[in-house]
Amino acid sequence: MNDLNLAIEDSNAEYITTPILEAFHLRKLFPLHSLNPLGQKSAVHAVEDTSIALRPGRAMALVGESGSGKTTVARLLAGLYTPSSGSIQFRGEPARLSNSASLRAYRRHVQLILQDPFSSLNPVHDVRYHLARPLRIYGHARNKRQETAQILSLLNRVNLSPAEQFISKYPHQLSGGQRQRVSIARALSVQPEVLLADEPVSMLDVSIRLDILNLMLRLKDEERLAVLFITHDIATSRYFAEDTLVMYAGQMVEGGPSDKVIQEPAHPYTRLLISAAPDPARLNPENNGKIADLPARGEIPSLITPPTGCRFHPRCPHAMEVCRQRFPKRTDLGNGRWTNCFLYGDGDTSPEAEKKPYIAPLLWPDQ
């Protein structure tokens, strides 16, 4: 049972593989249109300075609360939004997303799975139509016979059997889990190398979620897909992804191998997320079934006028003066882990940071 493609350590060799899709310093502003032409121009600062690298056969989880910019990152990578600044590289070359022809070529390699299977399938078309369109558009099927054969094999690959029955069904005849399988099959139909999954299981019933996650894990291993897995549930990211990135209010605050990030969270926000997650293991006799009190209150700030410096500082129990002034640089904590937090240093510029060994400070007693 400890077979682990889920595991982290065993795959160090894989870790070195070159990224297939990379984003550098992505930034996205959504301008707000005010009725007053002379008024201050304002914008929603959805994503700031985000860099991400997806490698074949590995999953990267992007974790954060709603409003943290996770979905915006996925849509930037899918070419649905144009970044305000920053660049995206596919196979080491700048991705061209300017016109529809180049976008189409890009989507031959990069596919998006949407959160809500109840609205991502067209209710007036059957399963065959949903899967045949990408097959025809990308030239994988030249005639009806090829099309049917490929659709059947796709349906079998996502465990929708008997495939012959599902091919003619309409979305309203399918359950939530079956619909999500169809949308996974649709994403796979173009034979992509990169799969961007935006909360693929959050709309599904609890007992169905694991099935879909296991299906995606299997597909990831079989096809060596690079997967971006967006979730708000940090426990799922540990199960599904080798690496985890934590985002807060549009800023990346911590990243590294999933298990390390979750077992020894560095950034105060990661600690907050983990202490807030439901964890029945806390039911052990020592705690007497009590819930640990939350150290930081509040919610994600408005991104129209975000807090200066580190955006977490208004909620952070360790906020210092410098946190209000500027965002800390990335500090390497070793073993592929990093965080943007002044508690651990300020990137390479601080000579002391290099000398100091990494010791996770004990911030809260329940950790």
């Binding site: 359950s175 007992s207 694991l210 099935d211 599904f240 298990d259 807030a276 997650a277 293991a281």
Partner: protein
Amino acid sequence: MAINGTFQSNHEGSPYNRATSPLLEVKHLNVDYLAASGTVHAVTDVSFSLRRGEILGLAGESGSGKSTLAYAITRLLRPPALITGGEIRYYPREKGEALLSVDAISKDASGADVITMGAIEEDANNRLPAEIDGESINLLRLSPARLRKIRWNDLAIVFQSAMNALNPVMTIGAQITDVLRAHRPSMGPDSRKQRAIELLKLVGIAPDRLRSYPHELSGGMRQRAIIAIALALSPEILIMDEPTTALDVVVQREILTEIIRLREKLNFAVIFITHDLSLLLELADNVAIMYAGRIVEQASTRDMYLHPRHPYSYGLLNSFPALRGPLRRMSGIPGSPPDLRSVPPGCAFHPRCPFAFDACHKVLPVLQSVQAEDSSQMVACHLYNPVYSVEPPTASDLAKKYEALAEGNAKR
């Protein structure tokens, strides 16, 4: 029930605490939806009891009948839903105080609410002599007028979506005082406002938010405001229908802490409905698991966590990846929930159950104690019935079967 015991010992001084007496008893409740395509049996033969100050968790997938049950208890169901049988007994605080008209809310020295109670009102509409039976009331037979008195006074509900439950064109303050105006006609505008301020403070909202509209509040604050409205008349029972599902984990945790704090302060009982079993295990005293309209297992939280008995409970409990401990490949419950128009014969779970045997296809299992020495845990499964099964499986047997399933999946 160890957890419950510790809780009650904290509250010996509480005047309303009657440790063992039930507050609400649901007996053999059946609810159908009369749809054109066939009758949907949403709740079938559900029985449970709720004691004072208890948090009872109801868990299950969507379509398992959790919300229908909550709506049936509050009598909020509308056609095509039809309560076809059973009874819901409510035991008011003291004999004869059931249908009270409350004269005023005054404050005692400690700041807690003291409700002065009036005499029973003779209700001209009361045509059902069986309505008051001894000291309990059958909620299903109440006339609309009496129901209106019970609702919110004794029985309040918090709906799933705070966004839709609040009126967008009324301020928060107006919505709280609205409840007081309807149920406490003797209160003046000033004391209503005073009470609204107290309520907001109680749930951790600054009183100046009284004049805010719902859209000016964040999701978490809206949910708190809803809880404040539910607590306005100090109800005995609070039904919460997925109160945190639409919220982020951090906010969810704050709301849960708030509920626990308020319960300790005000000693109301909670029926907490959610699909997130891991959340429930942290919060509730007792847990009931529903599947296809029936309760399949009922136990104290600790028993449920340490040794779930029903294969479905086990599967549900193990559908959540853990934050800690060794990483292992997990397996969900195969298949999907049944169509409630044609529930499979016998045990409704048998098509998805890795343990199903002959009897499961034919005979309906009833809810019964698992073991003689452990009367608190009830399960509806033939595996624990000596007639069909010589040796009931242990938790590790269940684990092995599900693990085999997981490995089978991995190979596929």
